[in-house]
Subunit: 218 residues, 2 copies
DNA sequence: ACAAAAGTGTTCGATATACACCCATGT
DNA sequence: ACATGGGTGTATATCGAACACTTTTGT
């Protein structure tokens, strides 16, 4: 019985939610897209294995990583019995440039236009998205998808891309404001028309979030 | 690499939350209490394995069962590499009588007075309790801990036992009422002083619960 | 001047919380 | 009659949802 980790790595690019997929070079499912992942080494923790695979695929460490679910239907891998412990990871777009360092065929695909996936990876991805949407509401995971400095429109864009719906600007900003987790900077982003103020995430005061369950001290 | 399932089985007895523990008869941790569980068979799904173990320990099938988390620190089992996929189960007190059918040493222990547990089972149990408390708020799992017919004080007792705090009777009853998931019966429980009305859980209308995430279609 | 996105408050309904008395039964 | 737990309603604070205009910049 072998144990593998499969990782759903989300990022935001061009205002849309994307996931890292690799094209399989060998059977089964040769040529199909799959989640990045691999077998857990004999003396390696599950999360360590996920971090290793993640770094191999994206070249990036130190990202938000959380265990998702374990899939173990006996028939899920035609080669034999493989238990997949799935993880989901979030990475900010300014750190995704290195992607493809290992698996030459790794691509950031839009969640809107997904190809059919190998194994049961479609179900894993679906569940990851549901979890991400839920956590967005009661935790601060959303900030993991932004660079260190960001604007409020950027932040709202992250929420809108994940939830796949428009949000009211004023309500959104009030909600963020009362969390008191943003430090306003004296810098402004000069990109579009009117410059937007930059902020930094400071995990200082998140009382209400903490007792609602920032979750899991592992 | 071996894969095991460990199951946190909760019930309510004498108004307090209890968990099923078995005393280990062999090393390692001989004589210590542990969560019921065992190795996954070669051609058996993870949930099937959990159900099998659960039925072996309690003699009961058809219970609420949900996957919790997978623990895989290499050193967690001194005998060698074992990945534990943990589950949590809820069982109503009128069905727990058969307990101990297999493991002669299986006991329902109060969550208040827990002995130290073998392996990392203490951490598993802690996480299971946290999850149960969270789910209590946005799902109807609480009803799984009651017999088919129950009174409102019974139901409130379940919530109080799990959350380990007193709740306001009137607020509690209003909250339950507006879910419209209880069918009042024409029977009354004759036990204490004044008879209490019996209800039956009917999953009919739980709109708000459903889109909040009754979760996981597997 | 105009186009485009940034920024800013108020109202209203729903939901959570705090709180005290009467009722039905068994002894 | 009294002790025990069952049963019921109101007032207040808090939170989420709807909704429109002014400001700053680049062209």
């Amino acid at each position: 019985m072998r144990v593998a980790v499969d990782i759903v790595i989300f990022t935001i690019q061009s205002g849309s939610l994307r996931v890292l997929l690799v094209r399989r070079k060998i059977a089964p499912f040769e040529g199909k897209f799959a989640l990045p992942g691999g077998f857990v080494h004999e003396d390696e923790g599950l999360e360590d294995a996920a971090l290793r695979e993640l770094e191999e695929e994206t070249g990036v460490g130190d990202v938000y990583l959380e265990q998702l679910y374990s899939f173990g239907t006996p028939s899920r891998d035609p080669r034999g019995r493989v238990i997949s412990v799935s993880y989901f990871a979030l990475i900010s777009p300014d750190r995704t440039l290195q992607a493809g360092s290992d698996a030459a065929e790794a691509q950031w695909q839009e969640m809107q236009k997904l190809p059919p996936l190998a194994f049961d990876h479609g179900a894993i991805l679906e569940y990851a998205l549901e979890r991400l949407r839920n956590k967005l509401e009661y935790t601060t995971v959303g900030f993991q998808l932004l660079p260190e400095k960001f604007t409020l429109p950027d932040l709202q864009g992250v929420y809108e891309a994940i939830l796949d719906k428009k949000l009211d600007k004023r309500n959104f900003r009030r909600k963020i404001a009362q969390l008191k987790i943003l430090k306003p900077l004296k810098e402004f982003q000069q990109t579009g028309r009117r410059p937007a103020q930059l902020f930094r995430f400071v995990a200082g005061k998140f009382e209400k979030l903490k007792d609602k369950g920032i979750l899991f001290p592992f």
